[in-house]
């Protein structure tokens, strides 16, 4: 792992140590966030999957009735029957915060609560299959909206999980090892300087003693001429 390009000084080391502590704490927090997001996500996505299967089956049924209706009725009459709906739906959008992801919450409002309002036509010219199709659709409307909500939530959570996971991994496998490596490098460098300094001092001491007492000259003299120190 590459170390950071910093001067090996004690001040840098202190700074890096502080960064390492922050990185470790961030890593722990993000890991917790990821785990919790994952738990929520799996819950939602399971629900989503079941709901989608249900909605698709229901819509398939509605489409089948509709196809029969359009075969029985002429396209003009069919269109005329459905062109001007009596019912209308509006949607109130609020958000819910799941681990700092703002997911939408939908709440829909029908203009009228009367279940018969979904049929915007008189029954004289239309076929019964059309009634079936429209009723089937109106029954799935609730599920459809719930599907929209859970699917959007799942998508947004998936995105957030991916982002968080990248952050956790970046901290765990890049940032923290890098900081550790650099701190170790600085410590080694400082220790090495310390040792260099000690040996230099020892050397200087030797030189100074040599200057004062001339050991080398004395050793070269024969033993008989040696002057006592």
């Amino acid at each position: 792992m590459a170390r950071l390009n910093v001067n090996p000084t004690r001040m840098e080391q202190t700074k890096l140590k502080r960064r390492l502590v922050t990185a470790r704490r961030g890593h722990k927090l993000l890991k917790d966030k990821r785990d919790e997001l994952m738990r929520q996500f799996l819950e939602i996505v399971r629900h989503n999957l079941a709901l989608r299967k249900k909605v698709e089956a229901a819509l398939g049924k509605a489409h089948r009735s509709f196809t029969i209706a359009s075969a029985v009725m002429s396209p003009e009459i069919l269109e005329e029957a459905l062109m001007y709906p009596k019912q209308s739906v509006t949607l109130a959008l609020s958000t819910k915060n799941i681990m700092s992801v703002n997911v939408p919450v939908y709440k829909f409002q029908m203009k009228s609560d009367d279940p018969a309002e979904i049929f915007p036509y008189g029954f004289a010219t239309t076929s019964g299959e059309l009634d079936d199709a429209v009723r089937a659709l109106s029954q799935t409307l609730n599920d459809l909206l719930e599907l929209a909500q859970s699917e959007k939530t799942a998508q947004m959570l998936a995105q957030e999980i991916e982002k968080t996971r990248r952050r956790v991994n970046a901290l765990e496998y890049v940032m923290i090892p890098q900081l550790e490596e650099t701190i170790k490098y600085i410590r080694m460098k400082l220790e090495e300087n310390e040792r260099g300094n000690t040996s230099r001092l020892m050397k200087v001491k030797d030189m100074m003693l040599e200057q004062a007492h001339h050991y080398a000259e004395r050793e070269s003299l024969p033993l008989s001429e040696a002057v006592p120190i």
Binding site: L42, R52, T67, L91, L144
Partner: protein, 105 residues
């Protein structure tokens, strides 16, 4: 107050009109693309799009995946489900978890 829209071919969407949803007829992916962009710019919170049109509009849909509004939800058209909706859920799981752990459920 937001609107709910349905984008798809005539036969797939006509039924939704009776329920009071906004319907936009689009027979080609180009028309659908224009309709989606327009609806997104307006106050439309949920767009239901038929899978038949969605299969050639993936880049457009990805653009809205991370936006909070609108939610583009795929529904089967009159020709039946193509499995893209389920596929998208599986993709989301794969993206989040790393591998699809719900495949066998």
């Amino acid at each position: 107050m937001y609107k709910i829209a349905v984008v798809g071919d005539r036969d797939s969407t006509l039924g939704f009109k009776a329920l009071g949803l906004d319907t936009v007829f689009a027979d080609s992916p180009e028309e659908a693309r224009g309709a989606i962009h327009r609806l997104a710019a307006e106050d439309c919170a949920v767009i239901y799009l038929t899978e038949q049109l969605a299969q050639s509009l993936t880049p457009e849909l990805d653009r809205y995946t991370n936006a909070q509004r609108p939610a583009i939800i795929l529904i089967p058209g009159k020709a039946g489900s193509l499995g893209i909706g389920i596929e998208n859920i599986n993709k989301a799981v794969e993206k989040a978890v790393g591998s699809n752990i719900l495949k066998n459920e």
